[in-house]
Amino acid sequence: MAAFTVYRARRIHTMNPSRPTATHVAVRDGRILGVGDLEDLAGWGPYRLDEVFADKVLLPGFVEGHTHLMAGGAWRYVYCGVFDARDPDGDLVKGSPSFDAVVEALQRRAQATADDGGPVAGWGFDPIYFGAERLTRAHLDRVSADRPVGVMHASGHILVANSVALRLADQLRPGIDHPGVPLGDDGLPTGELKGPEAMIPLMKVVGLGAQLEGADGPGLRAFSRLAVGAGVTTATELGAPFSRRALDAFKHETAQADFPLRLVWLLRTIGMTPAAAFDQAVALKAESSDRLRLGAVKVVADGSIQGFSARLRWPGYYNGAPQGLWYVAPEDLRAIYALGLKHGVQVHTHTNGDEATDLALDCLESALREHTGPDHRFMLQHCQLADAAQFRRMKALGFGVNLFANHHFYWGDMHRSVTVGPERAERMNACRTALETGVPFAIHSDAPVTPMAPLFTAWCAVNRLTASGRTLGEAQRIGVMDALRAVTLGAAWSLKLDSEIGSIEVGKQADFAVLGDDPFEVAPERLKDVPVWGVVQGGRVFPA
């Protein structure tokens, strides 16, 4: 009777420098019993040889250190992005490369749901591919003249609503005076609603309520299928505010035998005092299971660069836009760090602009003078604009960083010409600096802001190509090995899980990304095209 399974693969890249490649991996009780050649593994006793991956290449299961379950929830609505994308069922969904195509995609949904007469909503629309032209209520009125229609921008910061929806929300009236509500020549809103205060009154009306967030069983399930298709075995939820109901749903879903993902849910400090947040984080940690990890804290320091709400140091935005916004007071950030050190709770801080990064550095330095924090592993999330001096301080203070490599492709051209200008755009998400300074780093998608696909994210860090084909920041490119390390061990380290996952070596979880090709053999510019067959998660096989 075989006590364990040995998988033979075309090649196994382990991310363990002591044994970087192998042909066989043995799995028992969901964990890695050994990796090597068959002879090395046979010593463990009788085994069952599984040839299902004989022509596949195995890597450690990818770890996505910054995502949102909304990436799963969003697929309940009409995909309106420019690029083709994979839905949770693994089906290819065509992109909408024109306003007409967006309208047609919504019309198809409206026709398919003609009976229910409810709202029609879409997501993933990105205006930067359409020059100066704006999607407005006039376009969406073509979808329906009697049902509410809404489309969420890819950034998540702008919603477009049709006339019916605006009327239902009492927003189709003259005299509105709000920076987030542009008006047309008729003095009425154009349909674009920018920022949460302008968007929220319309969200419910167009049907983009809590369901979009995906912080429920079905949302998590859809998210997990996206993960399988991307080779991801551990992912994160960094935005959803805590609710007992969501926690119960996550517990139930992740406990199912066929649930293919480990979810790390960070507690956002919003709506509670720092002290209350840490009491709750400590209590939540005890409720963790293998596939649901709780107990770390997330705090948001500033906004986004493309939304001009990030806090930039001098000389500010390239186009002269006013300084961005603080979402936390310095005193509170300092208190949060002190509490994190005191309780041994890891803190992840969203900083986009370099001034926000400076504040985080100052606050941690000050907190560390008062409290010791052995292996505190505080993380800067995004940290897109950090310069070399800031990386040196990160190193000195023990910060790790999770860089937003996908930005190069999706917004790189805009960053170069509008938001921060060429020089700072070239140092954005400075993977090379992180590497050379010795700051532990990961790279991420922030899905659904950009699609969850670690091979694509690695490709972005390796090539730094923008959508228009420009190499943005040649000097910050990194090699394929370093990029793949960032989406495996690097991200595992950022979640304090590197002793369990992130590499294929004895004792770790049997989490593998199963690839149809060898990412080290394809040309670096083809890295994103390496096919993903599926994953092995905790020793369980999940084809995409």
Partner: protein, 297 residues
């Protein structure tokens, strides 16, 4: 708005940097609500410490307070919280929104304008006289503090006892430069006359006749009324009451406009809000005002 629509609920946004004294002010207002049903919206319960003796109960994230007042935390969803307030039964007479320490109260007031059934009548910003100028020069939050000050219609200077007379005077001079639009009022330990924020009673004691002035307990504030037996140009009246040199820092009253419609006029510092008014003969043609001495003490 149809004739049956209720008057919009007035909203005052209360801003100011962390530690400026917003919580002290709000507790003071709740303690002296004088029968007004006030709904307080706070960013999170942690930032405001409602005095324990005012709290009568807590349910579903809403604190019930003495005198029919309530307090709710809105977290990331201000608009949703405003929606919920409008549906409260009985309706609140007034809403106070306390912004976070780094929040921009002007932006919040404009967002209130997007919610139907509510009107932002003014932005009151509490500023700590002792630390204000240092904060305004702070590398990280200086611009945020200055924007908060510029957003103010009414600026309540707190902790003047700690700052001392000389610094308080210097701060007032400095404020005239950085926030020239705001009406600046000095408070004692965060205790402004409640009517300054909540608005004067519309039906004042009969003794308060035309032009008469009633001295408040607060030394340098005066209250008075103006009566209008004929229709009045409300826009012109609003401009007069909020003119830069005006000593009036708060006013409230119902008047008939030149076109015959009834209007409710509210002045908070240098902002006037005019909304449609239901019939109420008791208060017809009467504006109650609060003025402040130009040179306190």
């Amino acid at each position: 708005m149809t004739a049956a629509a209720p008057e919009p609920i007035p909203v005052v946004v209360i801003g100011g940097y962390l530690g400026a004294g917003k919580t002290t002010l709000i507790n003071h207002l709740l303690r002296h609500a004088g029968g007004r049903r006030i709904a307080v919206l706070v960013n999170d319960f942690g930032e405001i410490n409602i005095d324990a003796d005012l709290i009568e109960g807590a349910e579903g994230g809403v604190l019930s307070l003495a005198g029919g007042c309530v307090c709710c935390a809105f977290g990331a969803d201000l608009m949703g919280a405003l929606d919920d307030l409008r549906d409260l039964d009985p309706r609140p007479d007034m809403v106070l929104i306390e912004t976070s320490g780094v929040g921009l109260p002007g932006a919040v007031a404009r967002s209130v304008g997007l919610a139907s059934g509510l009107t932002a009548i003014g932005v009151a910003v509490v500023a700590d006289a002792e630390t204000l100028r240092a904060r305004a020069a702070d590398r990280y939050v200086g611009d945020t503090v200055l924007t908060q000050l510029r957003d103010a219609d009414l600026l309540l200077l707190s902790k003047t006892d700690l700052a001392g007379e000389a610094e308080t005077a210097a701060v007032r001079v400095w404020l005239a430069g950085v926030a020239p639009r705001a009406a600046v009022v000095t408070t004692d330990h965060g205790r402004a006359p409640p009517d300054l924020v909540l608005g004067p009673r519309e039906a004042p004691p009969a003794a308060l006749a035309e032009g008469a002035v009633v001295a408040e307990t607060h030394a340098h504030f005066r209250t008075g009324v103006r009566r209008f037996s004929d229709p009045v140009d409300v826009a012109a009246l609003a401009a007069e009451l909020t003119a830069p040199g005006s000593q009036i820092v708060r006013a409230k009253g119902a008047v008939t406009d030149l076109d015959g419609t009834r209007k409710l006029l509210q002045v908070v510092g240098r902002r006037a809000a005019v909304t449609a008014r239901a019939d109420d003969p008791r208060t017809e043609g009467l504006i109650v005002w609060i003025a402040v001495d130009p040179h306190p003490h």
